[in-house]
Symmetry: C2
Subunit: 262 residues, 2 copies
C-alpha cells in the first residue's frame, strides 16, 4: 500500500521536526523551507514562500493532504507579522489546497484562540466561546473560520487543532527548561504557571495528534490538543472520540510536586 | 447636555445614510468619505482611507465612539478586496480606536458570518456556531474575534451587530425591488427566497439598532439585527434584552401573500 503524500508547511519548526521524527515513516512527506534548505532522507524537500500564492500553489500540487504549520508561531507578535505570515499565509495555503484538489487540510490552530478563557477555570470544554489572547490568537480564529467556509463551500476536509505549548524533546525532558520557558513565555498572557503547564503537549503526543487528524474518519472540526496532563487545561473527550487521539504523556510526571504547588 | 461625538466610517453607504437621516439629530457625527466628499449640515465631514492607518488614526481623534461600517459590503468579493478593505480596514479602525482612547466601538458584522447555518432551519439562536458563507463572512468573524481581543485586553467596549440585508427606503417600499434584489443577491448563497427575506432589516430599524448599540449598558457582545420579520431568520431575544432594540417593521407587511408562498 502506498503511503499518503502530505505537504507539511512550516516543517522546520518544533512541531514539524517532531512529526518527521515520530511519524515520518508512515507518510510520503513534502517538507518545505523558505530560506534554509535541509535534508530529510526518504522525503521530498521543497522551497516555498507562504506569502506568495504562486509559490504555495506550486508546492501543493499532487498531494493528498496538507498539514499547515507554517506561521509566525511566537504568540505576541505585532500585526505587521501576523497579517502576512498567519492571515495571508493561511489563506494562500487553503486556497492552494482547493485549487490543487487536495482532500484534507490539517490546520495548526492554537490554545491562544481561547487564552482569555483559561483564567476562568479549567478544563475548558471544546465548545467554549472564542477568547483570543493576542493578535496571533485572532489570526487562528480567522484560519478556523476560513476552514469552516472552505469545508461548507468547497468540500475540503478541514481539521483544526488548537495546539497547546509544544516544544522540543529537550524541553520536555527538563523540568527546569519547562518552568523557565513557562515563566518567560507567560509574559503578556493572562494565566498562571499551573494553567500554563496544563496546556503542554509532548512532541510524541503532538505527532500522534497530527497522524490522527490525517487519518480519522472526520471531515470537519476544531479540536484541542494537549498531553494527558494533570491538571488539564482542556477537555480532550471530543479529540479522543472524533480523532481517536490517545495521549501518552503527562506534564505532571516531570515534577516531584503537584503542579499547583510549584 | 452635549451630544455624543461619534465617528462613522463608511458613512456614505446605505446604512450610514440611513443612520444620519433617522438618528443624526441625536449625535455629533464625524462622517467619513474616501474619494467623494458630501455635505451633512450640522455634522463634520472628513476624508479617511481605511487602508491607511495614519489616516484612520487622524480621523479617530477626539471621538467617544466609533461606528465602523466601512468595508467592501458586497457579499461575494474575492480575497483581493476582502483583505485590504475588510480585514486590514477593521484592524486599522479598532487599533486607532484604542490608540485614540475611544470608549465604544460598534462593529458592523453580518448575517454572512452564519449564512451556511441559515439553510439548516430558522430562527437561528444567538449562540449558533459560526458558519460563514463567503470570504466576506470570514472577514466578519475575524472582526468579531478582534473585537473580543480588544475588549479583553484593552477594555474597549465592543458591540458587534450581525446585520441582515439592509437597503434603502426605496427598496423597503417596493415589493418588486425587494424580490428582484433577493433573487439577484442570492446567487452564490445557500438559502432560499423565504430565508433571504427573513434577514431583511428596514433603514429605520437598522438606525435604531446602531443607536441602541451606542447607548446600551453593555460592554461586549455579538447581536443579530433584523426587523421584526415573520418568519424571522434570527432569534432577536438577546438583542432586545441586552441592547433594548425594539424593531418596528416586518418584511411580511410588504407582501399580500405569506412569504413562504411567494
Amino acid at each position: 500500500m502506498s503511503k499518503m503524500k502530505v505537504l507539511v508547511t512550516g516543517s522546520s519548526g518544533q512541531i514539524g521536526r517532531g512529526f518527521l521524527r515520530h511519524f515520518g515513516h508512515a507518510y510520503d512527506l513534502r517538507l518545505t523551507y523558505n530560506t534554509h534548505p535541509f535534508d530529510a532522507p526518504g522525503h521530498e524537500v521543497a522551497q516555498m514562500d507562504l506569502t506568495d500564492y504562486g509559490s504555495v500553489l506550486k508546492a501543493t500540487q499532487g498531494v493528498e493532504a496538507v498539514v499547515h504549520l507554517g506561521a509566525d508561531s511566537r504568540g505576541q507578535q505585532p500585526w505587521e507579522t501576523v497579517l502576512p505570515n498567519n492571515i495571508v499565509g493561511t489563506y494562500n495555503a487553503m486556497e492552494a489546497a482547493r485549487e490543487a484538489g487536495v482532500r484534507r487540510f490539517v490546520y495548526a490552530s492554537s490554545n491562544h484562540a481561547a487564552g482569555f478563557a483559561l483564567n476562568e477555570g479549567i478544563p475548558l470544554s471544546a465548545d467554549a466561546p472564542d477568547r483570543p489572547d493576542s493578535l496571533y490568537g485572532v489570526g487562528k480564529i480567522f484560519g478556523e473560520a476560513l476552514g469552516r467556509f472552505y469545508h461548507d463551500k468547497h468540500g475540503l476536509e478541514v481539521i483544526c487543532l488548537r495546539i497547546g505549548a509544544c516544544h522540543g524533546d529537550d524541553f520536555w525532558a527538563s523540568q527546569q527548561a519547562i518552568v523557565q520557558r513557562a515563566i518567560d513565555h507567560r509574559g503578556g498572557y493572562p494565566y498562571d504557571l499551573a494553567t500554563y503547564l496544563a496546556i503542554w503537549i509532548s512532541p510524541r503526543d503532538m505527532s500522534q495528534l497530527i497522524h490522527c487528524a490525517l487519518s480519522a474518519d472526520c471531515d470537519w472540526g476544531v479540536f484541542y490538543g494537549i498531553s494527558d496532563n494533570d491538571p488539564a487545561a482542556f477537555d480532550l473527550s471530543e479529540t479522543q472520540r472524533a480523532l481517536g487521539y490517545k495521549p501518552q504523556d503527562n506534564v505532571q510526571d516531570l515534577f516531584d510536586l503537584p503542579i499547583e504547588e510549584l
